[in-house]
């Protein structure tokens, strides 16, 4: 049986490849905030308090462009609402925890951590402390995100733009789901989500981020009915 710290460490290792996109993205987020004219403390506060990559950039862009607080807050809420889906999946593995521990671990639920945890825990069903894996991924991503936004705030965006590291973001997410390409039902759901996102891209408040998954999950639901 694996000790708690070993499980935590396995989570840490699992998210390391994702640093290729997380760190440049964090640096860019910090640098953009300062470029937009925000107080460095405020820029960092978004990383600590909101802690959600794309939503932080959009939040600062909206406010500096003169949008109202309500619009900025709504956008953050809409973009980050996908965590509800991650929580619904992870709740199965976190069921036995005390309420306080659930409140604590929730802060660390992020895209890549959710994806790697879900993958690992599904493959190791009789893991005794799956929440240490979730924490290992989440805490590691949290630290790297804090450090990279701080360095972006202090040093500016020192990663040359010509490298096009923005492209690392779709690549890391592709790496997350590439394993499921062997399952036709999953491929179907992926295609529905992908095409929905292209069609809904201009929907207000960046809501394509949550609308496309909802469309795809409805498609999954219908597909499951036909399978039976």
């Amino acid at each position: 049986m694996l000790s708690k710290s070993k499980i935590f460490f396995k989570g840490t290792v699992a998210v390391l490849p994702h640093m290729l996109s997380v760190i440049p993205f964090g640096i860019i987020t910090g640098a953009i905030g300062v470029e937009l004219g925000f107080d460095p403390i405020l820029v960092y506060a978004t990383s600590l308090i909101i802690f959600g990559g794309a939503s932080q950039i959009i939040f600062m862009q909206l406010l500096s462009g003169g949008a109202s607080s309500l619009v900025a807050i709504t956008s953050v809420g809409v973009i980050n609402s996908r965590h509800l889906l991650y929580g619904a999946v992870l709740s199965e593995y976190l069921e036995k925890l005390s309420f306080i521990k659930k409140l604590f671990i929730s802060y660390f639920i992020v895209d890549q951590g959710f994806a790697e945890s879900n993958k690992y825990i599904k493959q190791n069903k009789n893991l005794s402390n799956p929440h240490y894996y979730v924490l290992g991924t989440g805490v590691t991503l949290w630290f790297c995100w804090q450090l990279s936004t701080i360095s972006g705030i202090i040093l500016g965006s020192f990663i040359p733009e010509e490298l096009g590291l923005k492209f690392a973001i779709p690549l890391t997410f592709l790496a997350i789901i590439v394993n499921d390409l062997r399952k036709l039902d999953h491929v179907f759901v992926m295609l529905v989500s992908g095409f929905a996102s292209l069609i809904l891209f201009d929907a207000p408040f960046k809501s394509y981020i949550i609308l496309s998954p909802i469309v795809a999950l409805i498609a999954a639901f219908i597909m499951l009915r036909f399978k039976k």
């Binding site: 290729l20 394509y208 639901f221």
Partner: protein, 105 residues
């Protein structure tokens, strides 16, 4: 005002993370819902991948010959056969860089 917006946004975001974990009892979800939840990664991540590959910075479609499409295709093939996260990301980036730095220069 900005502090207020950050804090409210933080609360909203934290709520989205915490609600399903801490407030909802797992037994409240029916078996059908649980089955559908198996597809959450397949339903969420393509909505980040597709726009990232097929749209440019201004939100319009890229050309079919765009380096991002080549990079993503290489990553897809390498990922499919290697089943390795690092290989997927690196092969995509390297092929993308190869095109923008050597072929297009």
């Amino acid at each position: 005002m900005t502090w207020f917006s950050i804090i409210v946004s933080g609360i909203v975001t934290y709520f989205s993370r915490m609600a399903m974990v801490a407030l909802i009892d797992r037994d409240m979800l029916g078996t059908k819902v649980k089955e559908v939840l198996n597809y959450v990664p397949a339903a969420v991540f393509p909505a980040i991948i597709f726009p990232g590959v097929f749209f440019n910075d201004f939100g319009s479609f890229v050309e079919i010959t765009d380096p991002k499409i080549y990079g993503a295709t290489v990553a897809l093939v390498v990922g499919f056969f290697s089943r390795n996260v690092i290989a997927t990301i690196i092969s995509g980036l390297l092929s993308y860089w190869f095109i923008i730095f050597f072929l297009l220069k």
